[in-house]
């Protein structure tokens, strides 16, 4: 039973990965491939923040540089395969994430030592500086980074593994499935090793570390390298997926994305960043098809999580799971239902308000059309609906808060 418990999440994940292509359409596969990249990226970020207590604003530097390493290797494979000789002629594109890993880890190894002296604000500021430095540096070496346009390549070169030509996104899916599974497994295993445990210890109390025999800096540095490597691996996956790497991939914006995904999903729970990566990626890629306010909505979700659910979406999942094991679901279900209704009403009010404002300023918005709402911002009716929804949501919220006080 316990053995089953331990393996169940992995078996289920594997089953999902195997069945996913059968139940999704062609265009969804492209989104899923991006999700795979972002899962690895967000988890690698959480090795620093959630596991090691290091708040980084420059994590995309490792993702991007790993990505560049992989794309240059891909070009090398192309050239060598054409010539038919050399080391790269025998290197499959399938293994390029390993090149990304090496790139990311190497950069972390070279720059990381001075960073890891302190966690906290000093670390945050230094990584912010690194991010900016690398982003600016890319413009100074166009031969390496390809200037504004980036570096192009072609993934259909070199030896073919597992019969994957990598021509279509559906082919790339199996490549992604393999690497996301391997990377998540590796990062999970890392948390179970002595070094993984020590990284939690240094997060909780760096001052005590010295007195159990460890300079905190050594532990941080090793975690930093591992995390940089995993970010580079995600970058390698991205290089194969897009066949182009631009300086945007190592920008501050990309670093922010890592923080966003990890925090929305939950920093304190291993699978949190996975949940966050899925949600944020889906929101980013789907919402932008329907509304101009997509970025705003992602930002609002981030704000809501930080304010009202500091342990993230995974924190909520854990809450339900514990209630399930404690057989308290029946007792808590009404409150959850009321809470969900309250949040839904508040969200609807907010979405409606945002769309109305967009209508006022832009004249039209696609989301309203898609939902079949014939909104007229000049009539008082939709505004009344906003207020009604707000009132309902707030009322339900007060109600659940009251019942929570009553029971505790």
């Amino acid at each position: 039973m316990t053995v089953f418990r331990a393996f169940a999440p992995w078996v289920i994940s594997l089953a999902v990965l195997l069945l996913l292509p059968a139940v999704t359409s062609g265009s969804a596969v492209s989104v899923i491939n991006v999700i795979a990249i972002h899962i690895v990226f967000a988890l690698s970020y959480n090795m620093l923040l959630g596991q090691g207590g290091m708040l980084s604003f420059g994590h995309a530097a490792f993702f991007g540089l790993g990505s560049y390493a992989a794309i240059h290797a891909m070009n090398a494979i192309g050239d060598a395969a054409y010539a038919g000789t050399g080391f790269w002629a025998h290197f499959p594109v399938f293994l390029l994430p390993l090149v990304g890993f090496a790139g990311g880890a190497l950069v972390a190894l070279v720059v990381g030592w001075p960073f890891c002296r302190r966690a906290g604000t000093a670390f945050a500021m230094i990584t912010l500086g690194l991010g900016e430095l690398v982003a600016t540096g890319t413009q100074m070496f166009p031969s390496v980074f390809g200037g504004e346009t980036g570096v192009f390549s072609n993934r259909m070169v070199g030896p073919v593994w597992f019969g994957l030509e990598l021509a279509q996104p559906a082919d790339v899916y199996w490549f992604m499935a393999f690497w996301v599974f391997a990377a998540v497994l590796a990062m999970w295993a890392f948390t179970r090793t002595p070094l993984g445990r020590l990284s939690n210890a240094v997060r909780d109390n760096p001052d005590r570390m010295q007195f159990i025999g460890y300079p905190p800096r050594n532990v941080r540095f090793l975690v930093f390298i591992a995390s940089g490597g995993m970010a580079g691996l995600a970058g390698g996956m991205a290089a194969v997926n897009y066949e182009i790497v631009t300086p945007e991939s190592l920008s501050l914006l990309a670093s922010g994305l890592a923080l966003l995904m990890a925090a929305v999903g939950g920093l304190g729970i291993f699978y949190g960043p996975i949940v966050g990566a899925i949600l944020v990626t889906v929101m980013n890629s789907l919402l932008s098809d329907y509304t101009d306010a997509a970025v705003l909505y992602v930002g609002l979700v981030f704000l809501a999580v930080v304010l009202f659910a500091p342990s993230g979406l995974a924190g909520g999942i854990e809450h339900v799971r514990q209630a399930w094991h404690g057989k308290q679901v029946a007792a808590k279900a009404p409150r959850w239902l009321a809470g969900t209704l309250s949040v839904t009403a508040l969200c609807m009010a907010l979405v409606l308000a945002v769309e109305l404002v967009y209508l006022l300023s832009h004249g039209t918005d696609k989301l309203a059309d898609t939902l079949g709402m014939e909104l007229d911002a000049s009539s008082p009716l939709p505004w009344a609906a906003v207020i009604l929804l707000l009132a309902t949501g707030y009322g339900l919220w007060r109600l659940t808060a009251k019942s929570l006080e009553a029971t505790s």
């Binding site: 295993a189 090793t193 002595p194 005590r208 159990i212 300079p215 532990v219």
Partner: protein, 249 residues
């Protein structure tokens, strides 16, 4: 018998303020040595100097005859001197067992291992279980350390200090803030810890000191005014004047 720990002319200034003013002290192998003194006497600073948390302004600290002053705390710990803290200083989000195991890793050869599971580190696991029983927290094995009751956290604090199997252990006010029953249990634990180690404790509770200590040193305004058996210290006029007299006043 040789001294496990020798302090020679130790001084420490913070700017113009002299906090430790030429301390000389020998802690014998295997004894329980208590350091007492009024508030502000410099006891905590004294511990911080020995354990490497602070750097001495002058003088020498010898552990088994080897100089350890100027070394980093982790190097001093590796040479067999461990310390506990006055305020509980544990890893809040880790379980009790994990706290102990982390404290065992370095000395059981697990170092910075990232290629094997922590559960596979036989030495560290065995030692952590052993200490867990010794400090009586078996029932709270998997509770997060930050959520422990105060007295249990103090016991864990001592457990983490001895987990690395240091020969010389400094305990900083191990019974501070405890109830009578809890203090009684703590005394038992300290006695057990001291059975095969050299122990130096700073303590405010005179009952604890006179019950446990083989010898006592009295630190007043950065100087040792007397060292001796509990009996001798009790009757020492200088101690009465400097310490007990002040308490009575």
């Amino acid at each position: 018998m040789s001294a496990a720990l020798s302090i020679r002319d130790l001084t420490k200034n913070f700017g113009p303020a002299e906090v430790i003013r030429g301390v000389n002290l020998d802690v014998r192998q295997g004894e329980i040595h208590a350091v007492i003194g009024p508030n502000g006497a410099g006891k905590s600073t004294f511990f911080n100097l020995i354990s490497g948390a602070l750097r001495a302004s002058g003088g020498d600290i010898l552990l088994h005859g080897e100089r350890i002053n100027g070394l980093a705390p982790q190097d001093i710990q590796q040479r067999g001197l461990a310390r506990s803290f006055q305020v509980s200083n544990v890893f809040d989000n880790l379980s009790v067992f994990e706290n102990l195991r982390c404290a065992c890793f370095k000395n059981s050869g697990a170092g910075y291992v990232f290629w094997r599971a922590a559960t596979g580190m036989g030495g560290a696991n065995r030692r952590a279980e052993e200490v867990l029983d010794m400090i009586g927290l078996r029932a709270l094995r998997d509770a997060p350390a930050g959520a422990l009751p105060y007295a249990s956290q103090r016991a864990l604090e001592i457990g983490m200090t001895i987990a690395g199997d240091a020969g010389v252990v400094l305990l900083d006010e191990p019974t501070a803030g405890m109830s009578n029953t809890e203090t009684g249990q703590a005394i038992e634990l300290i006695r057990q810890v001291g059975a095969d180690r050299t122990l130096m404790i700073v303590e405010h509770d005179m009952g604890v000191v006179f019950e446990l200590a083989d010898r006592i040193s009295v630190l007043v305004y950065g100087e040792i005014v007397a060292t001796g058996t509990p009996e001798a210290i009790r009757n020492d006029p200088r101690v009465k004047e400097a310490y007990l007299g002040e308490e009575a006043a």
